[in-house]
């Protein structure tokens, strides 16, 4: 089985509605995706702000290679 086949076997299966099981909630699992998206936004911005202090502020309008 290739890795693509693994992906094709519905990676979202755990997110699909399941019959209710006594004593088991689904809330925390659902919240994880939101946490991942938020983490991306926070980390990218925080790291970029830090990186900017190293790189400087001479970026060109059309990308980093402008400003000639």
């Amino acid at each position: 089985m290739t890795s693509m086949d693994v992906q094709a076997a519905d990676p979202w299966a755990g997110w699909r509605p399941q019959p209710p099981q006594p004593g088991k909630g689904r809330g925390p699992k659902r919240a994880l995706l939101g946490v991942a998206i938020a983490a991306l936004i926070v980390l990218v911005f925080a790291a970029a702000a830090f990186a900017f202090l190293v790189v400087g502020d001479s970026a060109g309008a059309a990308g980093s290679c402008g400003g000639v």
């Binding site: 990676p11 509605p17 502020d57 001479s58 060109g60 290679c65 402008g66």
Partner: protein
């Protein structure tokens, strides 16, 4: 809402799909509009550096977004696909990096800048191809179907007009060359306006026009409007650069956050963040070496240009939805964008 919504095929969709679909639509619209607004509001006086805030947005929208493409190669299925299609994913990127590195050393920068006109034409064509894809995804995920022929044609004609506008006015790209084509700038504006008219005609003929789709479509169609509205580089061009990069980071961020069997939640997102930021720092550093008297430094600058072009080539393959592999890749990672 906690109940599952059925698809056209009758298969239940997880409720989270609706949230993620809305996140992508609202995020794409908000990031694009905010990018244009920020570029206009934060633009420096002519000849000045952009300053910390606009410089950081440009760093994210240019170098960080280009570097994030490398994250795809952390996926085993992408590496496998690259091995079976080495021309696009291995040979062409390596040749572009090596070729431009050698050219940057061998050719004086005063002449090399002329080649940058072609580089920028490719870059903005790449932007407009992404706009086409964004509008198509917005139509599909809203149940309005993909783009009609006039809608596609309108976006591409407007893009050609925008690119022509930039090439006839290279001051906007901060290039020190003058092809003496400035008298053709109004003709470029006419092409852009014709594309907008064709696109609006296509939009008017559409039977279903969900508002989020209309917003994404208009952003795509009128993407190059700032080129004709402003006469200095940052208000005219920086918004395009930032909007394109942020649209890309949002979509790749959602892909990286998709569940993968055998992987911890969030692992893909963390890997993407690390690759994009560290790679972005390296690219931004190399991009400023064009004027160096040192040949090795200029080779790094050339390699930077090659890496950006490799990003164009790899993206053109990985997002081509008429091919089976990109469809499977996106259907596994962002299925909520391929089904209403």
């Amino acid at each position: 809402m906690t109940t599952a919504s059925p698809t056209a095929a009758g298969v239940a969709q997880p409720p989270v799909f609706r949230t993620l679909r809305r996140t992508w639509l609202a995020g794409t619209i908000a990031l694009s509009l905010a990018a244009f607004a920020a570029a206009i509001a934060l633009a420096p006086a002519a000849g000045d550096d952009p300053g910390a805030a606009l410089g950081t947005l440009l760093f994210l929208g240019s170098s960080v977004h280009v570097a994030s493409t490398a994250w795809f190669f952390t996926l085993p299925e992408v590496r496998g696909h690259a091995r079976t299609h080495p021309g696009r994913y291995i040979v062409a990127p390596a040749a572009l990096v090596a070729g431009t590195a050698a050219a940057a050393v061998a050719v004086p920068y005063s002449r090399f800048q002329w080649a940058l006109l072609a580089f920028f034409a490719w870059q903005f064509f790449h932007f407009q191809k992404q706009n086409l894809g964004m509008a198509a995804l917005a139509g599909i995920c809203q149940g309005g179907g993909s783009l009609s022929r006039p809608e596609r044609l309108g976006i591409m004609i407007a893009g050609v007009g925008g690119i022509a506008g930039l090439l006839t006015h290279p001051d906007l790209l901060q290039l020190g060359v003058d092809a003496r084509l400035r008298p053709l700038f109004p003709a470029a504006l006419a092409v852009f306006a014709a594309g907008a008219a064709v696109g609006l005609y296509g939009l008017a003929r559409r039977t279903a026009r969900p508002r989020p789709f209309v917003a994404v479509y208009l952003i795509s169609l009128l993407f190059f409007a700032p080129v004709f509205a402003f006469g200095t580089p940052y208000p005219a061009v920086a918004g395009l650069t930032i909007a394109h990069g942020f649209q890309y980071l949002l979509l790749v961020g959602l892909l990286s956050g998709a569940p993968r069997p055998g992987h911890r939640p969030g692992a893909g997102t963390l890997a993407l963040t690390a690759i994009a930021v560290l790679g972005g720092i390296g690219l931004a550093y190399a991009s400023h070496l064009h004027g160096s008297p040192d040949g090795a430094a200029r080779a790094l600058y050339g390699a930077y240009l090659g890496a950006v072009m490799a990003h164009f080539v790899v993206d053109a393959g990985l997002w081509r939805l008429r091919d089976a592999f990109p469809r499977r890749l996106l259907d596994a990672g962002v299925p909520y964008l391929l089904k209403p």
